[in-house]
Structures are given as structure tokens and as C-alpha cells.
Symmetry: C2
């Protein structure tokens, strides 16, 4: 059964991007710090813990992301990994620069986006990416698992992964902890 | 050499207390959820990971806390553990109800409080507790280590541990990860 799994690098103080995000500064000021753990080394020099987590998200069968994540990343060139289908939640149609990619689908309804992404993923999981999307999926009870790459830094300011949630607690079950070279990879299942 | 070590239970979304904190509701609404990991079981039934962390903070030689942490907790009855000296950072003198405890010292200067707590701790560490105090210690470069008890819940609202920090990154070095029954205990050293 396909599960929706959030993959996100987060500082210990809860940020997934630095301040002053713009289209040209998609990770915000200093936000690239959060992605250093996965980007620096060629595969054979990666820490085994980091490599296991990268291998895991490379096996996902579809990507579901928000427009605010996808567009500043230049749409990952139309291919996040292995040509899997990419579903972008957006009230607007795809801008012309992204509309010609065959694997990219702009969808305006949250439940429909999840349904389509799961269908495209088949028996693989759906990789979820983006803070705003995460908050909407949590509120709708549509997020199954979280894989947080907890980066040992206090960013101080920026965009928080978990924000504007309601006062109801969302209980999680720890599924796995993997220490990488510097990031601590925390896997949780959402209790429903 | 004595180190200042923050011990704090925090939800995955960064909260150390629920909303609506008052003197009579010191952990905020639902904030007791964050402390369930350490409170439920008698010692011989605790998870070994949780017990190791509890044993560790019980070996600290002094406590340094903010008034906002100490007073709603009724001053821990004047004895946090083993009769170690307790230093409370506060602009005001101790209220009458706490002033008679021989081990409790209200101090109005941050650096002085750290110096006195380290002196009292001797060759043991100083246990730091409280969100506001943590933010002040970090800003002043006076916090040496963090031991976060990461609780698998999204609280949604409340008081954040890391808030109002400046835009400068504070780099941390992961020192240890210990999985308890439910909480994940993350130890970091502050890089300076």
C-alpha cells in the first residue's frame, strides 16, 4: 500500500528555509546549510546512514509538492528522480516554463492530488515535500509518515516546517532513528 | 570542567509547553504530554534509554533556571535533586514563599548566575532549564551543551524552546542519540 511520506531537512529549531525567501533565493538566506548533509559527497564517500536515507527516498514512486517548493527549485528540471510523476498542489495552472514537462501535473485539490500521486506510485511510497503542503496534509489527516533530516544547527530565523497547526495534538510513533555524518534521520508514523 | 547543559523535553514541532500557560497551569494546556516519557514508570520499569538520560541529569551538581520555569513548578519544593544549589535568573528578589529555602538563590545577572552555578557544581555539570533562559544563554555564548528529549508529538501551539534568536547560525555537534521508550534523546555540543 502506498504511503505519503514527508522528506524534509529541518534545523533543530524547526526551520526548513532561511529568512528572505524569494524565487531567486528559494532556500532563504543561509538555507543551503540545511542541505549540506546530502549534497557534499559523491555516493561512495557518503556516510552509510545518510546513504540509506537517500536510497530510501530515491525508491519513492511519485512526488507530491507545493508550488512554493517546486517553482523556486526550477521544477527540478522536470525530473526529481527516475522520471517519476510529479504532482504540484496549486490554485493556478502550471506556468508556461513548466507546462511542457510530461511528468509534471498541477492539481488544485488536495485530496485529488494525494489520490493521483498514490495511483502513480503504485506499490511504492509518495515522497511529500514542502512546509505549507505538510501543514495542509496533517490538517486533512492525509500524511502517513515523516522522515525528518534533523540538522545540527540553530538557524534562528526563516520558515518553520510546523506552523499554524491547530491545538489538537498529532501523535507520532517513532519508527527509526539513523545517525548520519551530521544529520539525525528521524522516521515517524502518524497515529490516526 | 563544569559545562552548562540544557535538559528540555520538546515536541517535534519545537514546543516545550502548551498554550495558555499560567502560574496554575505551568505546562500550558496539554503540556504534560511532553513529560510523560520520564514520569510514568517506576525506575525498574523504565526503558534503558530513558533511564540513562535521567541518571545523567541526576548527576548534575547545580541547577540554573528561569523564574518562569521555577515558580510555576512551585520551586520543586526547594530541592530539584540531591539538594544541589538552585540558581534562578530573575530581575526580582525571591518571593516570600521561596525565599526561605537555603539552596535557592535568585540572581539578576546572567553571567553572574552562570559563574555561581558552575562554582557550586564543582566538577559536575550545571543543569539548565527553561526556554527564555536558553535563548539568553545562547545569545551570550554561555550554553555548552543541549540534551533534548524529543517527544513524538506535534503539539501545534504553545511556547517554543527556540524563538526570537538572531539570524546568526548556531552550529552544533551531535554528541549522542539515545532512543527511549518513545522520546528520542539528542545530545549536542555548541560549537564556538
Amino acid at each position: 500500500m502506498s504511503a505519503t511520506v514527508l522528506y524534509m531537512s529541518m534545523s533543530l529549531d524547526g526551520f526548513v528555509a532561511g529568512p528572505n525567501e524569494t524565487r531567486a533565493n528559494g532556500l532563504g538566506d543561509g538555507g543551503d546549510r540545511l542541505h549540506a548533509w546530502g549534497a557534499l559527497e559523491p555516493r561512495d564517500r557518503q556516510h552509510a546512514g545518510d546513504r540509506a536515507v537517500i536510497d530510501d527516498f530515491m525508491t519513492t514512486g511519485a512526488v507530491l509538492a507545493g508550488r512554493g517548493t517546486f517553482e523556486p527549485a526550477d521544477g527540478w528540471g522536470g525530473d526529481h528522480h527516475d522520471g517519476v510523476q510529479i504532482f504540484i498542489l496549486s490554485r493556478h495552472a502550471a506556468p508556461a516554463e513548466f507546462a511542457h514537462w510530461p511528468n509534471v501535473h498541477y492539481v488544485d485539490d488536495l485530496e485529488h492530488a494525494v489520490t493521483e500521486a498514490k495511483k502513480a506510485a503504485g506499490d511504492k511510497n509518495v515522497m511529500v515535500h514542502g512546509a505549507g503542503l505538510t501543514q495542509r496534509l496533517l490538517a486533512a489527516g492525509l500524511l502517513d509518515e515523516l522522515q525528518i533530516h534533523l540538522v545540527p544547527v540553530l538557524l534562528g530565523q526563516g520558515r518553520r516546517l510546523f506552523d499554524d497547526l491547530g491545538p489538537e495534538h498529532v501523535e507520532l510513533t517513532p519508527a527509526e532513528v539513523v545517525q548520519g555524518h551530521e544529520a539525525t534521520h528521524l522516521r515517524y508514523r502518524v497515529v490516526r
